[in-house]
């Protein structure tokens, strides 16, 4: 176990380096340097002031030197100051991150709680009406623009029926409500975003669980279990289900980049004050330090997600444990 973990950690180092390098390249793609952009905002700025600004952001140094300077900052978790309001990027991200993480975790939970039973049930009854409905659902999930789905849901449930609020994560003045009502208020605000965020993942995961289960069901040990005369329920639950679940665990990690990336769209549609919304507004105002910071954090979250998925897989699958330790 320990050997595996250490190996896994060392593998992350080159990837981390690559991530910082790409972040840095992206920001330096800009045709005008950030200093030029500042000049655009206030054309009155004198050349000397622009020079001073360049010095301030270190733009007068050669590019590789700038990369290592920046890397130095990043390693000490210093992400610089926002161009827009001069606040610390780290602080800005810190206050937005929890909302995004909670939303993504809720969506991940929903995906797993829904997708596994759906996938398994339709694998047990291939070709039935339920299975066909699932196929339609899967294709819809892969093909529908989720932001459009969000708009339609807003029109139907928010505007026409008036059942659910369409923006924010709480009502105005909700801080003064008693705890119980506040939780209900939050819950109502989160239903639509979470369901719609999960939609595409739900389709993919159900399909994946279904094919994984179908494969397990065709294995010899299932036939043996049935031949022994075990009740079907035990064959399914004890022998098939647990083995079919293994590959599904890995998908946990793979679903994360899509979910986090999607938060840009959903948070801006539903006006949720999270990291995605911050990223969107910084992209619109070309706030380079904030863009770079969030890009980095997004990649780190993905890495952590993958790490957790790998460790989970390692813990559930005895085959890997034996192979890796010997």
């Amino acid at each position: 176990m320990l050997v595996y973990l250490i190996k896994r950690f060392f593998l992350m180092i080159p990837i981390l380096m690559g991530i910082t390098l790409i972040c840095f390249i992206v920001i330096n793609l800009a045709p005008g340097s950030p200093a030029l952009f500042q000049e655009e905002i206030s054309p009155k700025a004198s050349p000397e002031a622009a020079e001073a600004l360049k010095k301030l952001y270190g733009l007068d140094k050669p590019i590789h030197e700038r990369y290592f300077n920046w890397l130095d900052m990043v390693i000490s978790l210093e992400l610089g100051k926002s161009f827009v309001d001069g606040r610390d990027v780290k602080e800005k991200i810190k206050e937005r991150l929890p909302v995004t993480i909670i939303l993504n975790l809720l969506s991940l939970c929903l995906i797993f709680v829904m997708a596994i039973p759906i996938g398994i049930y339709s694998a047990l009854k291939p070709g039935t009406l339920f299975d066909r409905v699932l196929t339609i659902f899967v294709f819809t999930g892969f093909s529908i623009p989720t932001f459009w789905l969000a708009l339609i849901a807003m029109i139907i449930f928010g505007v026409n029926l008036g059942w659910l609020p369409i923006s924010g994560i709480q009502s105005i003045g909700a801080e003064n409500l008693p705890l119980g009502q506040r939780i209900i208020d939050h819950f109502k605000h989160l239903i639509m975003p979470v369901i719609i965020m999960s939609f595409a993942g739900l389709a993919g995961m159900s399909r994946y669980t279904r094919s994984s289960m179908l494969e397990v069901l065709s294995q010899d040990y299932i036939r043996t279990a049935r031949a022994k005369g075990l009740p079907e329920r035990i064959v399914i639950m004890k022998h098939a289900f647990r083995n079919a679940l293994l590959p599904v665990v890995t998908l946990l990690g793979l679903a994360i980049p899509g979910l986090i990336g999607g938060s840009v769209i959903f948070e801006s549609i539903f006006s949720i004050p999270g990291m995605g919304q911050l990223f969107y507004s910084s992209a619109m105002s070309r706030d380079y330090p904030t863009i770079m910071g969030i890009l980095l954090i997004g990649a780190l979250l993905t890495l952590i997600g993958n790490l957790i998925a790998d460790i989970a897989y390692f813990l559930v699958d005895p085959r890997i444990r034996v192979k890796k330790d010997v």
């Binding site: 529908i144 994360i256 990336g261 070309r286």
Partner: protein, 277 residues
Amino acid sequence: MFKILLLRILRNKISVLGLCFIFLLCITALFAPVIAPYDPYEINVYQVLEAPSKEHIFGTDELGRDVFSRVVYGARVSLKVGIIAMGISISIGTILGLIAGYYGGLIDSLIMRFVDVMLSFPTLFLILAIVAVLEPNIYIIMIVIGLTGWMDVARLVRAEVLSLKEREFVIASKAMGAGSGRIIFHHILPNALYPVIVAATFAVGSVILIESGLSFLGLGIQPPEPSWGGILSVGKDYITVAWWLSFFPGMAIFLTVLSINLFGEALRDALDPKKWS
């Protein structure tokens, strides 16, 4: 060969529907000026936000422009971006996958680590960051989506090459003194082509989804150029008064991507030798 393939695809009725829709869409995009009843840029302040009627079957937008004409022209943008960005990512993915799989060793691990790095970024974050830094226009969008979508293809091709490399006909060719170039292009690439074709089909659909998402956020195709995502982003502002602005362009995206995915699925089945032996 092509005939057999076509027959196999036609056997699947739903995919025939998808194929018809794709065909219709290509015609629409090619002959947009003939099909669109109005100029998609023509502003008319006297008919702002009109509901669908006989004159304007999809209604009019906030500047009085005909939504149907704009959706028709939007098909051009979506198909253009979809196909070119797909071309870019499939080429990069195939080339890197071939190199990594064939040469192995250090080159392989370097390329695969690069793939890991690229896959660590939430795709939409990476695309948005690049687009925000550069001025967004249709060419930048194509290139950026293409440059950020090749990783799965690279993995796929590499896996194919690894298994093909050990096959008898490749080893025989090598023993007869064939060079790397000949082996890669004559023996390996043609045999690895099927999964790439299937991946390319699905890629067009996902590129169209990404492009419309970018335009919806205002960081894709810039107005007044008509794009499906762009119309939707206006629709969002008028969501309480003009449902048609959100409904029709979204439906266009949905049906297009759905048709492409159905076709891709049928293609995958048709190219699967196990299924037909």
